[in-house]
Subunit: 178 residues, 2 copies
C-alpha cells in the first residue's frame, strides 16, 4: 500500500533547499518604463554547467494523472536548473528531494503552488515530473540545452511508492470555478 | 499630430526580423513524462553577450497607458535578448524596429499578441516598453544580467511621434469579458 505524502503550502522559505519560488511579492523590485511597470527583479537565475550551454525557453502542455496520484519515480537534471511557471493561475503540485544521493520515499517533500507561483529547481535537485490538478495546464519552462546527459531517474520499488491525496484540492479547484 | 501605426497580427513569420514568437503550436515538440506532458521544445534561446553573463527570470507587473497610446521613444538591449511571456491570456501590443541604427517612426512595426503568444526580442532589437490593453497584466521576463550597459534609448522629437489606436482592441477585450 502506498504511503501518503503530506502536501505543504509553497513558500520561499520552505522551498529553499530545492530552489527558488518565482512569484511577485510587493516591494521586491523597482519601477521602470516611466512608472508603468514594476520589475520584480531576478527571482531566479538559470544555472548551466558549461559556458557553451544555452538557456532555452519551452512550453510544457501537461495533462493530469488519476487521483490519488502515485509517486513511483523521481528525476533530476545534473547539468542545469529547470524553471516552471504556470501560464494560467491554477494550483499545481511540486514533489522534490534534495540534490545528492538517490532519494527514498522518506526524503520526499510535496508542495502546492497557489497558481501564481512558479518554481526553479536547482541543479541536481530531485523532482517529480509535472503534477497538475486541473485537467490541462501549460507552463513556461526555462532550462539548459547543451552536450552531455542531463537526465537521471530513480524508480521506486513496489511497496516503496508514495501517493498524493488530491481529492480535496481538486474539489476546491472545481468549486472555485463554478 | 501623431501618425497612426498599423497594428498587425503577431505571427512567427512577420516577427522573424525581430526575434521569436513563443507559442505552443501543435506538433512542434515531443512527448515526455510517461505521456502526460508535451514539450514544445526550444521556442526561444536566451542570448547573452559574455559567457560570464547570467540568464535571469523576473516578473514584470505592468499598467496600461492612456489611449491612443503615444509612441515617443524606443529602447534596445545591446548585450542580450529579452523574452516576455504573458501570465494571463490577454492580448497585448509589441512595437519593434530592426537591430541597427536608431529607428525613426517610419521603421516601426506594431503587432498584437493573442495573449497566448510571448515574444523574445533578439539582441539589439529596438522595442517599446510593455504596452498592455487590460488595466493590469503580469509577464514572466527572461533576460540577461551582467556587467556593462545593456540599455540604449532613443527619444523621438515633437512631430516625429507615433500613436496606436487601441480603442477597438480594448472594446473587444472588454466585450469578451462580459
Amino acid at each position: 500500500m502506498a504511503t501518503s505524502i503530506t502536501i505543504e503550502a509553497l513558500t520561499a522559505q520552505a522551498f529553499a533547499d530545492f530552489g527558488d519560488v518565482i512569484e511577485a511579492n510587493e516591494g521586491d523590485g523597482f519601477g521602470i518604463n516611466q512608472g508603468f511597470t514594476w520589475r520584480h527583479h531576478k527571482l531566479a537565475t538559470v544555472s548551466t554547467d558549461q559556458p557553451t550551454d544555452d538557456a532555452i525557453i519551452s512550453i510544457f502542455s501537461s495533462k493530469n494523472r488519476p487521483a490519488p496520484i502515485a509517486i513511483n519515480m523521481m528525476e533530476r537534471h545534473p547539468l542545469g536548473s529547470q524553471a516552471f511557471m504556470p501560464l494560467s493561475a491554477t494550483p499545481f503540485l511540486v514533489v522534490v528531494a534534495k540534490a545528492g544521493p538517490e532519494p527514498t520515499l522518506a526524503n520526499l517533500r510535496a508542495f502546492v503552488s497557489n497558481g501564481k507561483q512558479g518554481v526553479n529547481y536547482g541543479t541536481g535537485v530531485w523532482h517529480h515530473p509535472l503534477l497538475i490538478l486541473a485537467p490541462q495546464q501549460d507552463f513556461l519552462v526555462i532550462d539548459r540545452a547543451g552536450e552531455g546527459n542531463n537526465l537521471n531517474e530513480v524508480m521506486f520499488g513496489e511497496g516503496q511508492c508514495g501517493q498524493l491525496d488530491v481529492t480535496d484540492l481538486i474539489n476546491k479547484l472545481t468549486n472555485s470555478r463554478e
